[in-house]
Structures are given as structure tokens and as C-alpha cells.
Amino acid sequence: MVVTTHEDGAPRVERGAPAPAAARIRFEHVDKSFHDKQVLHDISFTASAGEFIALVGPSGAGKSTLLRLINGMHKPTSGSITVLDTSPADCSRRELQRLRARVGFIFQQFGLVGRVTALENVLMGALSRLRAPRYGIISYPRALRERAVEMLDRVGLADQRFQRCDTLSGGQQQRVAIARTLMQNAAIVLADEPVASLDPTASVDVLEMLRRLSQEDGFTVVCSLHQVDLALSHSDRIVAVREGRIILDQPTAETTGNDIHSVYRRASESAE
């Protein structure tokens, strides 16, 4: 990989190898602005089937915006994005719902309904397959309920299926959120700092689980992380973002802790 600079002096990544043909996510020269503030500049990258990509970079670098562009929660200002052969920016509302059904999203704060059971939260991952709204566990078809228990079992929480979600620990709640994503049968899972609210042991557990499930089911993971050691130990590829630009994109095996630390160091230097 060669790092050069843009005309405005910002670093630019040139990739030696061409993108694999079966890319599940493809960004080509994507810019994103909110009002007058440009938060992403000329982003190009691809992610292929089964890949686990760790997205690193300082806070405010644009990682969350990049993830939200993938599932169409934001639209790019310019450039093109293709996700599972669909352009989220050009989708109708219904088409976007269909695309999102195949793209799981895991949030830092879990995004669970605290006052209902873990099982019901997992079942919500299957709503895209149903037409009518649902309220309460028994309003879901039996086959889906059976599958939801299976998914909870895969994340080690089958015994807690009837427990109120807000009485589970942080790590358990994030596992419920992962099980909800599994219910989607997702081809891509986006995780926005999924372990930022967890203690170190729970963080390792959650990432190991995500990694294992990705290998078993073959889904692509794009996971933003701040913990350098976790990024190095769990991912196949590291993509570093700073000030809205990708400044490093290489296989994890070729990346050292210093490479990633330098991304944060340069950010704090430029902040000073």
C-alpha cells in the first residue's frame, strides 16, 4: 500500500490490489457534508464476503457517518455507494427497507426496548419479514419464535429469553442486540463502537462472538473500534479514518499497534 497526498495536502491511500469482484460494499469517491461542513472526503473502499473490517480513528473522524451511509441512514453528497448490488442513495423507502433487512446494525448503546423480554427484542429483527405490526411475543409466528430462541442460544442467552432486557448486564444486552441482527439473516453487519460501553472482559467476549458468528454464517462485518488491541486481534483488515479521510487500509496481519496509534497521535497533534 502506498500513501501519497491529496492536492490539499491530506494523505491519500492508493491500493495496490484491485477490489474483489464479489464486493458486498463498494464506496467510490464518496463525499458527505452536513450543511456546510464536509465530514467525509473522497472515500473509496470495498468489503468482500465474510471479511471482518475494523474501522479505527479518533472521535469525530467520520466513522459513524461512514457506517450510516452503508445502510442508507445518510445519503452521500457525491460519489457512489453500492451495497449488495444496490445503491442505497437511489432506493425508494420500500427498497431501502428491503436492503436494511439484509444489513444488520449494532449500536454502542444496544438500542433495545428495556421493558420487554430478550426474546421479544430478538424477534424485532424479523419484523422486515412480516407485513403487519406486532406487539408481544405471541403475536409473532411460531417458526420465528423458535428461530429467535435458537439465535439467543447461539449468543449464550437462551436461559435469559424471558428476562426483562434492562435487567441484563451491558455485555448480555449487546449479545441480545447481536442475536437480533442474526434474526435478520444479514449479509453485512455494521457495528458502531459495539464495545465502547462494556468492561474489558465483556468487550473481548462480544467481539469474539461477533467474529465467530461472522465465520460461521459468512457475513461481512464493518466494526468501528477505539481499542487498538481488540482491532488487531479480531479483524482481517484495518481501515483508519482521520478528519474524514481514509489514511490507512491494509490487512491486519501487516499492521502493527504503532501504525494505529500513529493515527490517533497525529490526530491529537493536529488538534493541538
Partner: protein
Amino acid sequence: MTTSLTAEPLEAPPAPKRPRRISPVLLVCAVYIALTIYGCWWIGVSLEAVIAGAADIGRLVERMFPPTFGNPLEVARMLLETLLIAVAGTAIAAVLSVPLGAAASDRFTGPRVVQWLARAVIMVTRAIPSLVFALILVRVFGLGPTAGGLAIALHSVGMIGKMFADAFEEQDPLAADAVEAAGARRAQTFIATTLTRAMPRMAAIVLYRLDINVRASAVLGIVGAGGIGVALQTAIGTLNYRYAAGIIIVIVALLLVLEGVSVLVQRRLAEHAHEGDVAMLFSPGRNAWTPGWTRRRVIRAITVWGLIAVVAWSLWVIAPDPDRALRSLESTWRLLIGMFPPAFSPAVFAGLWESFLMAITATTFGVVIGLILAILSTDLVVRVPVVSTILRVVVVLVRGVPDLVWALLFVAALGLGPFPGFLALTISSTALAAKFFTDSLQNLDPLPMRALESAGAGRLQVFVAGVWPQFMPSFVGNGMFTSDLALRESAVLGVVGAGGIGFLLQESTRTLHYETTSAIVLGLLVIVLALEVGARWIRRAIL
């Protein structure tokens, strides 16, 4: 680094010149006092009138004793009908308020015009009292509980819709974002996340409204819209004051019992809102994916099905017969056509002005007397526990009697005109203001008061320096809310001859002059909304 405090010259920088502004509180007080002085002249309030009125009221009370209760079965039937009208109206309003509140909330992501329409419906239905709706609906559905139930539903939908919208906005949007990101439709996301989370809060709102609606349905009968009010109206109309007293006692007893039940259930619901102590919501069922039955689930299921049965029964009670329902379509059409264009006449303006003056004058008296009662009910200035207990009981009992019942009694004692209406409104405003003020005085931060006490300040000094500055925003806010409620009430007192626009409103519907009805409703809407905007401005200015 060291700092010298004495090295700097002690001259204070010149204070920036602030433009001279009239305090908004003083402005409001001045407006209220001016309107009250004018209102006293308009209504004919004077010390002599009050003394003479007291003697007349005394004679009426003598004629009411001993109260009689007539046929107990008949009274029970009417009480049940009153309750079921309130239940049906509240249930219809609650169901309609879910989509309405969702569309009106800030979180609504659909078309702007839908949100705008939902907010308009909420604003308009909140501003029009249920008795006004009842007057109009009696023309469409005829005398009986159908008009009553629907009138309650129409008025409640505004308030419940607004409170539901607030409840939906309070919910953390992350769960909804997460489920939407999983490809769920808008309605699925809303029901699975926002509605599910808001459920305990919604139950509390509906219960609170049911309490208010029973109070309203007790007097709907006065305009022929079903319930026990019919009997009250008949008893007073036939000068059977002992039976009227019996019915009033039954109504007050029912309302007090319901208020007690409502407070208890709301307390339990509030506890349930934080039911984190119960971790397992279901026991394991006959297989892994079916929830089993726990005691909690059994109780919940019985409650839910019981409620559904009661609501179904209430809907059956207020349902019009098929023939009447068919004819009501035609009547509704005639009513709507007849309402345009609204006919604003001098009589409409005079009636609205009288209602407005009655409300403002009664509020001024009510707020001042209510403040004195509240101070005496708490131990801030005077500490005589017996007095405060007696005052609280009196306030609860007085609040138990609906305004229209007070007005009926005063009209019977003093004759027609705005004076009995003013007295009824003053009594209800006093009781309401006393309750609001007592609650907020009790919830003040005690630390500043203790600090002043420990510095040797007297009770009056503590009140002026430690209590009043904290209490003032709530005094103004609740005072304006009291006038808001008094205005809605004063608009309907005329149906029993107690002054204001109510008389003309009732006459216009009786004589099928719907163009006058619509003018009155529009005028009322403008005054209520203007008062609400004013109250919001004041609240923003003083907070």
C-alpha cells in the same frame, strides 16, 4: 500564579444600561385587576349582592334537607350509565389518540401536512369543552348517552393526543433507530419500540383522563346527553330540592371514591414504570419459544380482558340503534352545511365577552382566596394542624361538586344571570387554585427556608424571602391555567341560565341556527387559544 485581591482598583465597571421593561408578572396582574374591576361592574358583583345572595342560598339549602335518594335501583342505573359514558368516551379517545399523538409528535417522519393536521385536531378539540360538543351532538344523535359518549371522546382526544405525543417524544429514539435499521416498516417500528416503552405512561394518562371524564359525564345529562345529570336537572326543574341534594351527594361520593381509586392505581402504575425488580417476565412454557403463565401474567391477562369487556359493554350502551345511526349521517351533513358561513352577531360578541369577563373575574377572586387557603393548609406561615386538615377536606369536597352543579344551585337560589355563574366559577377556581398552590408549596426546596430560619428570620420574612421567589413561577403558571379552565367552564354555564355565551349556544342548536353555533365555537376557540398563547409567553418570560 498568585492573585492579589487588593491590588486591583475597587471601582466597579459602569453597569450596562438596560432598557426599561415592564415586568411581565406585573403586566399580567394589572390586566387581571383592571378586567376584574370592570367585570364586577358588568356582572353586578358587590358586597350587598353577596350578602343578599348568601341569605337566598341559605334558604335553598334549608329546602334541600333532609336529602332523599328516590329509587335506589334507578339511581344506581343512572350512576352506571354515567360511568359507562365516561369509559366509552375515554376508550374511543385513547384509541384515536395513538395515531394522532404519533403523527403530532416531533419524532414523526411522515409528510409534514399530516403532522400539521394532527396538531390542529389536538388544538381545536382541546379548546372546545365536552358540554359544547354534547349540545351539538344531541342534535345529531338525539337525547341519550350516544351524544354524551361521543362528546367526551371528541374533547378528550385533544388532551390525550397531546399527552401521548409528549410521552412518545420522551422515549429514547435509539431502539426505534435500531429496529428501523433492521428493515422494519414505520408502523412496525413505532409499535414494537416507542409504543411498547410508552405503555405505562399512556395507561397513567388514560386513567387520569377517565377521572376528569366521569366528572364531565355526571353533568352531561343537563343538556340531555345521558347519565345522572338528567335526574339532577329534572329534580331542580320540578323544585324537588331534597331529591336534587340526594343526587348531588351521590355524584360527589362517586367522584371522591373514583379520585381515591385513581390516585391509588396511578401510584401503582408509577411503581410499575420502574418494575426492574421483576427480572423474569414469564416462566418457561410448554416449549422453549412459548412464554409460560406466572401469577403476574395471569393477573395482567385478567385485567386486560376485563377492561376489554367493560369497554365493549360501554360502547354497547352508547351505541345508537341502527335506524338512528343512519339518520345521524343525514343530520351530520345538515349540521355541517348549516354551520357555514358562521354568523357573528352583536349577541355572539356580547355573550363571549361576558363569558370571558366571568372567567377572569372569578379567577382573580379564586386565585387570591386559593392562595390564602393554600398558605393556611401548609405550615409555612401559620402552624395550626387542625385548620390545615379541615381546609384540605373542605377543598376536596368543594372540588367534588362539578361547576355546573354549583351553577344550577345558585341559579335556583338567586335567579338567572351572570352573578350565579360568577359565584360557581369563583368557588371552583378557588378550590382548584388552592389545590395547585398547596401542591407546589409543599414541593418547594426547603433549604433556603431553613437557612433563613437559622439566620433568625421570622415566619413572614421566611415566606417573603425564601418561599415567594421559588413559588412565584408556579403561582403565575397555575393561576393562568385556572383561568384557562374557568374560561371553558364559563362558556357552558349559560345552559343552566348562569350567564355567558352558553345560553345563546344552547338556543342556537335548539333552533337549528347552526351558523350562530359555529360562530360561537370559533369565537371560543380564538379566546381559548389566545389565552394559551399568553400563558405560554408569560411562562417563558418568568422562567
